[in-house]
Structures are given as C-alpha cells and as structure tokens.
C-alpha cells in the first residue's frame, strides 16, 4: 500500500499555496540496523501522513508477524525480496506534506553492498538525515554514508542520534556521539551538521518533543526539515544550457534542452561550445508558446539568430562565464561496479547529453577515508571512493561539481553490460 498520496485531513484548512513551493528533497541513511525504517515510519505516522488504509495494513502485518500492535518499521516496508532478508535493497521514494512544506523522501539502504543505491538517493537530495544508534556510536558505514553525502554535495546534514530510550536518555552519550562525529567530519571537510537526540520507538523529538529529553532545547526532526533553507543555487549560477536534441521544423532549427543553471532572455548573447562561436537568442519557447525568459529547471526550445553547428552534447553558456573544454580532469570517483576498476580498460563516459570514452590514469585516497594508494596496480573495488585523474577521447565541456552540479557530474558505463559502474564529480579541469 502506498504511503502519503495526499496530506492528512487537517490540511484542508491550510492554504493550498504551500503545494506551489518546491518540495524539500531529503534522504535518510546510516548503518544497517540503526533503526531507519522505524524512524521514518514514526515520522510519517506522527506527521499525519499515513493514510488509514496503509495504517490498517501495517497493523495487520504486525499482528501476522507477531510484532505487536504496530511495528512502525512496517509503514515503510519494502518488497518481498527485501522482506526475506530483512534489509532494504533499493531506494523507496515517498511523498508527504506536513501542512507547512512538501517533502520528497528517498529512503536509502544501509547495507554496504547496496551503497550504489544510497548514492542514487543522495544525488538529488537537499538534505540528509544520517542515523546513528546511540548504543553503537559511529560505525564504518556511518562514516561511508557521511562521506558520500558530503562528496555528492548534499548541503544540509542532520545527524539523528537514535535509540536514546535504550541508553536511559543519557545526555553524556549523546554528547559523546556528537564529539566523535565532529572529529571524523573535520577530516572530511564537513563544515556543519545538526544533531538531534531522539527515540524512533517512543517518538521523542521526531515530531513531538516527548517527555524524556528535557535537556535538549533544539528543534525536533520535523521542525528541522520544515526550516531547512531551500536555496536554489541553480537559478543563481551562470547560464548553462546543454543541448539534448536538435529539431528542424518549417525551416527553423530548434535546440531542445533543460536550462541547467542561470537564466536566459530574448536577445542575450551566448557562446556555443565546443566551437566557441557566438550567437544571439532569437526565440524561447515552452511547449510551443513563446516566453521572454527561461530559468534553471525549465525544459525549453531555443532558436538562435544564425545557423550554427551545435549537435546533441553541445552547450550554450554565458559569454563571459563559460566552462572550459578539456580532455583531462580530476574527479572524485565512487565505484559501484561488481568488478573492480580496470585501469587498462576504456569506459563510456556520460556527462549530461554528451558521451565519450574515458580511461582512469591515476588514483589517490581521499583524506579521512580508506582508499587505494597511487600505485600503478592500485584497484578501486565495489563501493570504493577515490580521487582519480581521467583522460577522455573527446573534449568535455565541464564545470567543477562544487559550482555547477550538472556540469560536474558524470557516469562511467561498462559497455559490455551497459551498467553504470561509477559516479564521478569533477574537482578540477585541465
């Protein structure tokens, strides 16, 4: 049964306008068994976002499986194949509203084997809830998830210290987890994080404050989610328009694509890459209707004032703030392939609509993480993360991932299986 198709009944008294605002996309991650399913079930339940039929189904399943009246983890219960093993394999996306804000939750697997699916969830998130079991503290998988979330550029990190009920609601233990995490986070370059003590089982500090944590004065988890700033960095960046398709109609040539960052208006001068030529914007259309200006996130058709050669994979950019074209660059590489990286092999590289082939030249470990050394035979195994130097068959029009997510992100694909084997974030071009 699906969860939270629609907000709870209380919502009808709220203005509809909050449904117009962009949703906060967040993920929940952490080591396996740290209580993530229970926390998310509790969050959705206490926020009034579980439809009565789904609640009834979870109660029924709790009884059938001898788990008491209501096991909150069953509210986010997964597939048969997952239930057999009692773990989450893949990301489940859930949509809910608290009455103040809409959320798109990516419920990510904790098991190390499915790190690729956790990265899938993190790549589109604005915020991450990292779960820690207060009894166990920071585990290797906690560190890996923190690192991935940070490297993938998730702006807001919330460390939820769970199972405070199992440690007598101890402030000392909470403070210890916090100190341990901060010490580790520093080595990775994580600048800030929020810490919330809570109990998914009892509900304290998830949606309601509860009675057991009087020493904690910060916001609850839901309040943190509602207040997190949703700055649209893409709209503020310099104009980037990767060309997905070129279409001819009635003698006119249209470039189809989604504005990746910034804005563009009629008459604006743009630079065409990789050729480097310049042209002016003659027309902008959305769904066939003319518009005066387009902003990041809109999928449009664009016409230029002259006939130019700009195929799929080309890019239109702001003339004085254009990205560089390069065949070699440095990137963070997260390896997902079942087989380790083979540095003798060429992989297909997908970067926006552009494709080429690439080879990994050098590898180096990332500070704060275990990783390969830079030796000629260094390997990058499944779920490994490293700094890599790559060279490509053709020039890539790339931005650093820090400043332009879309322009700095790429995939490596094994052409024998057509499976993406690595996600890359460009650090430096040249």
């Amino acid at each position: 049964m699906s969860l939270a198709t629609t907000p709870g009944t209380a919502d009808i008294h709220c203005p509809v306008y909050h449904h117009d605002l962009p949703a906060l996309r967040f993920l929940a991650c952490g080591s396996v068994d740290d209580g993530k399913s229970t926390l998310l079930g509790r969050l959705l339940h206490d926020a009034g976002s579980v439809p009565p039929d789904a609640l009834e189904a979870a109660r029924r399943a709790s009884h059938e499986r001898g788990l008491g009246d209501l096991d909150f983890s069953l509210l986010t219960d997964g597939l048969l194949s997952e239930r057999e093993q009692g773990i989450t394999i893949d990301v489940a996306y859930r949509y809910f509203s608290s009455g103040h804000r809409r959320f798109i939750l990516a419920d990510a697997p904790g098991h190390a084997r499915y790190t690729r699916n956790m990265a899938t969830a993190a790549s589109t998130s604005d915020l991450a809830i990292l779960l820690v079991d207060a009894r166990k503290g920071i585990l290797p998988q906690t560190k890996r998830h923190a690192a991935l979330v940070h490297l993938l550029g998730v702006r807001h990190l919330v460390v939820a210290v769970n199972k405070l009920d199992a440690v007598a609601w101890s402030e000392e233990i909470f403070d210890q987890v916090k100190a341990d995490f901060l010490a580790f986070a520093k080595t990775l370059g994580i600048e800030s994080a929020d810490f919330i003590p809570l109990s998914a089982l009892e509900g304290d500090m998830v949606v309601h404050r509860g009675a057991h944590l009087p020493w904690y004065e910060g916001p609850t988890l839901l309040e943190t989610l509602e207040r997190a700033a949703l700055e649209d960095a893409r709209a503020q960046g310099a104009f980037r328009f990767p060309v997905q398709l070129v279409r001819r109609h009635g003698g006119e040539r249209r470039y189809l694509g989604r504005v990746a960052s910034g804005t563009v208006g009629l008459g604006d001068e743009v630079v065409l890459l990789p050729s480097g030529g310049k042209a002016k914007v003659l027309a902008l259309e959305l769904g066939g209707a003319p518009i005066p200006r387009a902003v990041a996130g809109q999928s449009i058709a664009l016409r230029l004032d002259e006939e130019v050669d700009l195929p799929r994979g080309g890019l239109l950019a702001h003339p004085t703030a254009a990205p560089t074209a390069t065949r070699a660059f440095e990137a963070t590489l997260c390896w997902f392939g079942e087989a380790p990286l083979d540095r003798r092999r060429r992989y297909r590289l997908r970067h926006g609509p552009a494709e080429t082939h690439a080879q990994v030249e050098d590898l180096a470990p990332i500070a704060g993480l275990d990783g390969p050394r830079d030796t000629p035979d260094a390997a990058l195994e499944t779920n490994g993360i490293a700094l890599a130097r790559l060279s490509c068959g053709e020039e890539l029009i790339a931005d650093p991932y820090d400043t332009h997510r879309e322009g700095g992100a790429f995939l490596l694909v094994d052409e024998a299986t057509q499976a993406p084997v690595a996600a890359g974030m460009i650090r430096r071009t040249a």
């Binding site: 049964m1 699906s2 969860l3 939270a4 198709t5 629609t6 907000p7 919502d11 009808i12 449904h19 117009d20 605002l21 962009p22 439809p51 039929d53 399943a61 997964g78 597939l79 048969l80 194949s81 893949d90 990301v91 489940a92 996306y93 859930r94 949509y95 699916n117 990265a119 899938t120 589109t124 649209d232 709209a235 503020q236 997905q244 279409r247 109609h249 009635g250 249209r254 189809l256 989604r258 910034g262 804005t263 769904g287 066939g288 200006r293 902003v295 996130g297 809109q298 999928s299 703030a321 997902f336 997908r350 970067h351 609509p353 400043t403 992100a409 995939l411 694909v413 993406p420 996600a423």
Partner: protein, 309 residues
C-alpha cells in the same frame, strides 16, 4: 561568481509543478535521444493524458516523434476508448492497439473464468506489441506514490526479453543522468511523471486545462458495497447472488479494466472540486480503487516481475 553574472530575473520563481514539468520533458527528450524506437503507452486515463500532454509540449511545434500504444483488455469503458481515439486524432499521433483478446483467442492466455479480470494478462499483449514493433523504450504514466513496488522503481526501468523487472539488480540512477541503452533483447520502460503525486496530477490538469473522460467526474451510478470498496455494476461485473445495488454519486480516481477499477463516493464535478477533495482525502489512491491490489500485500510487485507495466 561575480554579481554581474548573477543576472536579475523578472520572472517569478518556478513552482513545484513547473519543476515537475521541466523534469518530465527532460526525461521524454532524453529517451528519444538515446533510444531508436520509443512508444508512449496511452490508455485514455488521467495519468497517460498528462503524459501525452507533456510529450506534445516536449516536441512542439514538431509532431510527436513516436506512436501511441494501447493494450486493450477488451473490458474498457466506451467513453474512455472514445477519448483515447479523440486525443490521438487531435495530436496527429499514430495509435497502435494491442488486444488481450488476440492472446485469449489463440490460447496463450487461458482465463480462470470468462469474467476474470484481464488486467494481469495485459503483459502478454504488451510483450507481443514490443516484439512485433521492435520497441526499445516505452513511456508510461506510472507514479512512485501509487504503490510500494512503484516507489522503488527507477525512472528508466529495464526489462529483460520476457518483460520482467528485477528489483534487486536495478542500475544506479544518479542526478538526472539517464543511461538509457538496453542490452540486446532488453527494453526500457520510462516513467517521466515518477515524482508526481495524485494531487500534482490533478493540479496540473487544472492548470493546463486538460480534458478527461467524463468518468473522472461525479456522476450517478449503480454500485455494490464490497467492504470498503464500491464495485460498479456493469455487464461484466453483475451483482452476486444476494447483493443489492445502490445508486449513488461517484467518480473514478483511476480508470482501467472495468473488472478491477472501483469508483469512490464523490460529488466533485469539476477539476477544482477534485483538487480540494484530493487534499482532504486520506485513503491512498490504489487502496480506494483497485480490486486487483487487494489480493495480497505484494500484488503489484509480483505482476511487475511477470512483465506488467
């Protein structure tokens, strides 16, 4: 970035629906760029009506670069089929129809009884159409908020030569970087409105002024109460012995095979009234309307492994 480059904009910030539309059109175009022979699954239902509208917007003013495909169970409401044909005419798209009847007639689908729901058997006719037209990509209007197997599915979801979905071996799908190439024999199902909720769909229908089959709006109909569900009384779904039909105002939240979609009690007769009702409704869409998802906790997951959409 210097302030000079941060161009000031007079445009209003994008709304949630604007962003969903931008994402859906990007997905549609990406599949067309990477796949040789795509088609769009169009049943005349509200989700596929939204999908078709987005596809038209993605390629306007050029015509749609792919045909429409409908897998007809033979148990559809006439008004929905009429709407399907009307939209195909209006968009100038080629409409291909695969018939479950054909597979029943030649014995590859054997029904348990003549009135058994044919919903599940669509998989056979769908795979027939995929093979005979050599489609390598199919657009569908499925949404992740509908059901928990859908909630786990990628936007680009690969199926093997039998049409099966392998939930344990999905390709990683980061950012909006979609690698759409199937292996030989595989094809990809593409879901551009994955991230839309039922409410988003209705608000978009209102915003864009989209037409829908009349079944979606409140009308008087004979129904039978079965538990929490209302079963429509039709030639295919007659009352069982002892059941007493009632006449009431209902509307359909989903429209599919007559034998497995149930209406809900409602007096909402305009899109705006449906938006308001959807805001207030607590029961999930499939929970209220799908007779076929009630059979077991994992009905959808099992059907998808068989090649169902």
């Amino acid at each position: 970035m210097t302030t000079m480059l941060t161009m000031t904009t007079t445009t209003a910030p994008l709304t949630h629906l604007d962003l969903l539309e931008g994402e859906a059109i990007h997905i549609l175009r990406e599949a067309v760029a990477q796949c040789a022979r795509p088609a769009l699954l169009f049943s005349g239902g509200k989700d596929s009506a939204v999908l078709l509208h987005l596809a038209v917007k993605a390629f306007a003013p050029s015509p749609l670069p792919f045909p429409l495909l409908h897998i007809d169970t033979g148990h559809n409401y006439d008004s929905v089929i009429a709407f399907r044909n009307q939209r195909a005419r209006e968009t100038g798209a080629q409409l291909l129809v695969g018939h479950v009847e054909d597979a029943i007639r030649d014995g590859r689908v054997v029904l348990q009884h003549p009135l058994e729901s044919r919903n599940r058997h669509q998989s056979v006719a769908l795979m027939d159409a995929i093979r005979s037209h050599r489609f390598d990509a199919l657009f569908g209007g499925a949404r992740r908020d509908e059901e928990k197997a859908r909630a786990k599915e990628r936007v680009f979801s690969f199926r093997n030569e039998q049409g099966s979905w392998d939930p344990r071996g999905q390709r990683p799908e980061l950012w909006s970087l979609y690698h759409a190439r199937p292996l030989p024999g595989e094809h990809v199902r593409v879901f551009p409105i994955s991230n839309w909720t039922e409410l988003d769909v209705w608000r978009y229908i209102a915003r864009e002024g989209l037409e829908l089959p009349s079944l979606y709006f409140a009308h008087e109909r004979e129904v039978i109460r079965r538990g929490a569900l209302l079963a429509p009384v039709t030639d295919l779904t007659p009352p069982a012995a002892g059941e007493r039909p009632e006449r009431m105002s209902v509307r359909f939240r989903t429209v599919g095979d007559i034998t497995c979609t149930a209406p809900v009690a409602s007096t909402a007769s305009t899109v705006e009234e449906i938006v308001i009702e959807t805001l207030a409704t607590a029961v999930s869409e499939r929970g209220a309307t799908r007779l076929d998802d009630q059979t077991s906790e994992a009905s959808m997951e099992l059907r998808k492994k068989e090649g169902y959409f």
